[in-house]
Symmetry: C2
Subunit: 334 residues, 2 copies
């Protein structure tokens, strides 16, 4: 109302009278006020508000696949933090395509979101030029980008892989292999590097065995059968993420190959499968929460240097890390 009054050179009281159709306003004044209302949009809707304040109270989240539990937990956490602080959340999926991601980001910048949380797509993600030019705050999650210092929330991949290898070694395994996800993903590459490094540091026999994705149940069935038939057979595998764990479990079931297993990412039914699946839990809820809070701090003016937060992982020990032999033993005696 104050905006309309100023623009029409009348008092707020006069604007109020016009809006409420009260008497006591000259006809030409009323017409002038109505013209201003029509022009600048009197209703408190977004359009007028954005023009006045430059803020949309909207943040956006761009992930690969909203139906993947890892991303849906991040999404739920970001939405919750946003809602508590009166921000609305736009979610978008880039389906792993850098081209689609560019289009999505451009469209989000055009609608002037206040900030972005992005799981960057592609093999070597860099800061998006449209985002950089706009100066819109952005926090990357799960994978860092090249090119400039940016706020990033990642998981402690080397620590997670180390806990998985050490657990298997402590349970008697020596021939341990990694079933990584597609090496296109930074996380998959980082977990591979960590695996090889830890394998060698612990002095495990032979070269570190690694098979990177994409995997299918078919390809894994074959891979596991081959590994189990070698002269020094692989006795345990570590999977690269929840997708690979699922495929590996199906492949083991199908082929009857029994191997020790530590899965990356916890999943809801891990304790109901036999043997219950030991996992490295990344805590996507905390990752999403941390990213949202950091983003909102930036939106509100935090100009401290960009920071990378490395979230700890946690090994959840169930049964699948034990040697298949010891498991059979335990079963026979129960």
């Amino acid at each position: 109302m104050a905006d309309v009054a100023a623009e029409a050179h009348v008092s707020v009281k006069t604007v109020s009278r016009v809006v409420n159709r009260e008497p006591g306003v000259r006809r030409d004044t009323e017409l002038r006020v109505r013209a201003v209302i029509d022009r600048i949009g009197f209703m408190r809707h977004d359009g007028a508000r954005i023009l006045r304040q430059g803020r949309t109270q909207t943040i956006a989240l761009v992930v690969e696949d909203l139906a993947n539990p890892f991303y849906s937990q991040i999404s739920a956490a970001v939405e919750r933090e946003a809602r508590i602080r009166q921000y609305q959340l736009i979610t978008a999926s880039a389906e792993g395509s850098p081209t689609r991601e560019r289009g999505v980001l451009e469209s989000l910048i055009n609608r002037r979101v206040d900030g972005l949380v992005v799981v960057p797509a592609g093999e070597r993600p860099a800061v998006d030029p449209t985002v950089a030019a706009s100066g819109t705050p952005i926090v990357y999650v799960d994978r860092p980008v090249r090119g400039q210092a940016t706020d990033t929330v990642i998981s402690d991949n080397p620590g997670g892989v180390r806990s998985a290898v050490e657990h298997l070694v402590a349970n008697g395994h020596r021939r341990i292999a990694l079933l990584g996800d597609d090496a296109e993903f930074w996380t998959a590459r980082q977990r591979r590097e960590a695996f090889v490094q830890i394998h060698d540091a612990l002095g495990l026999p032979g070269d570190a065995k690694v098979s990177m994705g994409p995997h299918t149940v078919d390809s894994l069935t074959e891979r596991l059968a081959t590994w189990s038939r070698e002269r020094s057979p692989v006795t345990a595998v570590i999977t690269g993420n929840n997708r690979v764990t699922l495929a590996a479990l199906h492949a083991m079931r199908r082929s009857g190959v029994e191997m020790g297993l530590v899965g990356y990412d916890d999943f809801e039914l891990a304790d109901l499968i036999e043997p219950a699946v030991t996992v490295v839990n990344q805590d996507p809820t905390s990752m999403g929460q941390k990213a949202a809070l950091q983003l909102i701090a930036r939106i509100l003016g935090d100009e401290s240097p960009a920071q990378t937060v490395v979230m700890p992982t946690r090994l959840i020990v169930r049964e699948s890390g034990r040697l298949p032999a010891s498991r059979s033993l335990r079963k026979a005696s129960s």
Copy 2:
């Protein structure tokens, strides 16, 4: 540009010259054009666009819990359909609270989303008055609302329950019970009514046994133990949704009670649990897709009468519907 030109009483060419800092514009004209640009927002950002067109190319989805796989699949489907058609998706969670839902809807209406897909919260949801007053198109999913004809996409709950009961009966079960979710939910009530009706229609012995939620693993452990110790023990249960299935599986594991089971909602590892879990699959992806397409048709001007689409369910037969006795038999002989 045309808007700026009209407002400043100059030609579009003149506006173009001012913006591109080309010569040939009088100083006072330039100042007038710049003032108009400053006032109405020349850049093609949302604020200006909303004021001009009245459209935001945004649709919103309001669900109970973005991390629940049922909703995250709906969400992914709606996002996909929206993105293909150049709409952006705002997602929000009402966490099952009608009060929170009202706040969320009001805030979405204030920012003038073009349309809404809503899984309504509360025991007896009605059309939200703010939404109704705004005339914003809305499609309800999973649960209908009272009060007026609205576009709604629901699942065939009676058909799903019937297929579950008939499957259990065909496998020799007579004492079948329903572990429903909280009767606060319309879906839970509808499945309960369908269960009782089908139980009686098939002439199964005794009264239909029903236990409605909220359930915990503890409460279900006790409930299953009680049912299994009765003179005519319950031999099979049907769960009301994915949450209840999960709790029931844990309770069975903990108590050692063996019962036939048909779960409502499919889940990723249903085939890896022993025995593999037979489920009624609701196809949330199709429900989300259908809702999004109906909403976008409304936004684009479809004024045909409101419709309720009932999506079929599908029974996915695995192993858990068989009698515990016959399952033991099968195991012993294998």
